[in-house]
């Protein structure tokens, strides 16, 4: 809840690539978070639910299978940098896609409840945007 929610997926976030659709996302949390904090990525593209297991994510120039982020605690997603979700759905430059995303960031220093579980800060997006072409 707040002004950063609208910036998680931006007008220029979609890029059509030979492998599918890239979605650049931006954090709704104020500080850099370690990569395991990318805890929940519930993504639907054009009505099709995307299993996180088929996603990979590029942060700081390195591409990680989504499932491997949990082990990448030495890497941080900086405040103003995008993380790029690589989504295996067909796209093309100029094509419109409806992107519905529930991004849940695990906040590693805010522990809640008697079991001291990290707070998960959610941000919901529902936008229809046009994919650009990948620059060569």
């Amino acid at each position: 809840m707040g002004p950063l929610d609208d910036q998680v997926v931006r007008a220029d976030s979609l890029t059509a690539t030979p492998d599918g659709l890239d979605i650049a996302i931006y954090s709704h949390w104020y500080r850099a978070l370690p990569l395991p904090s990318l805890a929940r990525v519930e993504l639907t593209v054009d009505g099709q639910r995307i299993d996180p297991d088929v996603l990979s994510v590029t942060v700081n120039g390195s591409r990680h299978p989504f499932g491997a982020l949990a082990e990448a605690g030495d890497e941080y997603w900086f405040t103003t940098d995008p993380a790029v979700l690589h989504v295996p759905v067909e796209s093309a430059p100029g094509r419109e896609h409806r992107v519905q995303l529930l991004l849940g960031l695990s906040i590693p220093y805010i522990l809640t409840g008697p079991d001291r579980v990290p707070l998960v800060a959610p941000s919901a997006t529902d936008k229809t945007l046009t994919a650009a072409g990948a620059s060569s």
Partner: protein, 338 residues
């Protein structure tokens, strides 16, 4: 620089106040620091290391030189570096004590390298870890302060444990960082914008504010808030947003900050908006009285946080208004109190 008279708390700004500004095109670290200086919002400069410093907690020597160069050229004085103890770094487990110590120690060393005299940690940093960090703090000449932020108050068990630790160790190198979110007199109006965007009705916002303002411990009001909000048609995520207001805004009497002395190493001047030279949600006249009576001469970092709710207000103008208000309040305290 807008400095206060000698013997009084000093003013400053944390770059956290500029969280939305940081995201604007063309902004970088140097431009934020330089604008704080140009607008005379020092002399103290605080920042959240993980927010402002790319590469933290492992800055290269070149990055350290660059950050130091920007701050020195600005004329601002490093006041406090907010660091984090990310205990929940990995899913399904918390860092061990050894891991937690190392995670924080690296950052205290980083703060020393950058020239900060104080670091801020959260209450998740246990007394055991703090005591273990004490020799490092002494060796580096960097104080470690535990932030007391809503929903914590003087009555919270972790706070009592910290007070006992600081009293037993009797050291200037460990202490508290009061944050005014713990002692508010009203929920700020800026939340109205966020609620509107989240589809929460004005009636629900009014209900939540009224319930918060009633007497009694805030935590005991959660069930009634949940029940009444659900009756009024709030969805579960909306109820979560309403409950967050109770967590983020504490109701401790501001006079109770006196009980944290003499162990206060830094102060967060949390605020959510100044209206006509006054702060509707924080009783700054009472806080200023406590700080002056206690002989506090450290920094009050202006921490504008309404950006979490609304982008309608200019953070630089807001900090200017708060500085003008604080300078007036601090300098008008009776001389006998100083």
């Amino acid at each position: 620089m807008t400095d206060t008279a000698p013997g009084l708390p000093r003013l400053g700004t944390t770059l956290f106040s500029l969280s939305l500004e940081q995201r604007k095109p063309g902004r970088d670290f140097a431009s934020l620091v330089n604008e704080v200086a140009a607008r005379d919002l020092g002399p103290g400069l605080e920042m959240v290391a993980f927010q402002s410093l790319r590469g933290w907690p492992r800055l290269s020597d070149a990055a350290v030189r660059e950050v130091r160069g920007v701050v020195e050229a600005s004329g601002l004085t490093p006041s406090c570096l907010a660091i984090n103890n990310d205990l929940g770094l990995y899913p399904g487990r918390l860092l061990t004590d050894d891991e937690s110590y190392e995670y924080v120690a690296v950052q205290v060393r980083g703060a020393a390298a950058l020239g900060f005299p104080v670091t801020r940690v959260g209450v998740e940093t246990s007394p055991v870890i703090l005591e273990r960090l004490l020799p490092l703090a002494e060796e580096l000449g960097v104080k470690i302060g535990v932030e007391i932020h809503a929903p914590l108050t003087i009555e919270a068990p972790p706070v009592a444990a910290l007070k006992e630790l600081f009293t037993r160790l009797d050291t200037p190198w460990l202490g508290f960082i009061p944050d005014m979110s713990s002692s508010m007199r009203a929920i700020p109006d800026a939340v109205d914008d966020a609620h509107r965007a989240a589809g929460i009705s004005p009636e629900l916002t009014t209900l939540t504010k009224a319930l918060w303002a009633e007497d009694g411990p805030t935590m005991a009001k959660f069930p009634e808030l949940e029940r009444r909000a659900a009756e009024a048609g709030a969805t579960p995520p909306q109820v979560g947003n309403l409950k967050m207001l109770f967590t983020m805004h504490g109701k401790m009497a501001p006079e109770r900050w006196a009980d944290f002395f003499p162990h206060v190493v830094h102060v967060h001047g949390k605020f959510y908006g100044i209206v006509d030279g006054q702060d509707p949600s924080i009783d700054w006249p009472a806080v200023a009285r406590v700080l002056v009576e206690q002989g506090y001469t450290g920094f009050i970092s202006s921490e504008y946080e309404a950006h979490a709710y609304s982008d309608r207000y200019d953070p630089f103008d807001q900090i200017r208004a708060q500085h003008d208000m604080l300078k007036g309040l601090l300098e008008s305290q009776p001389v006998g109190a100083r």
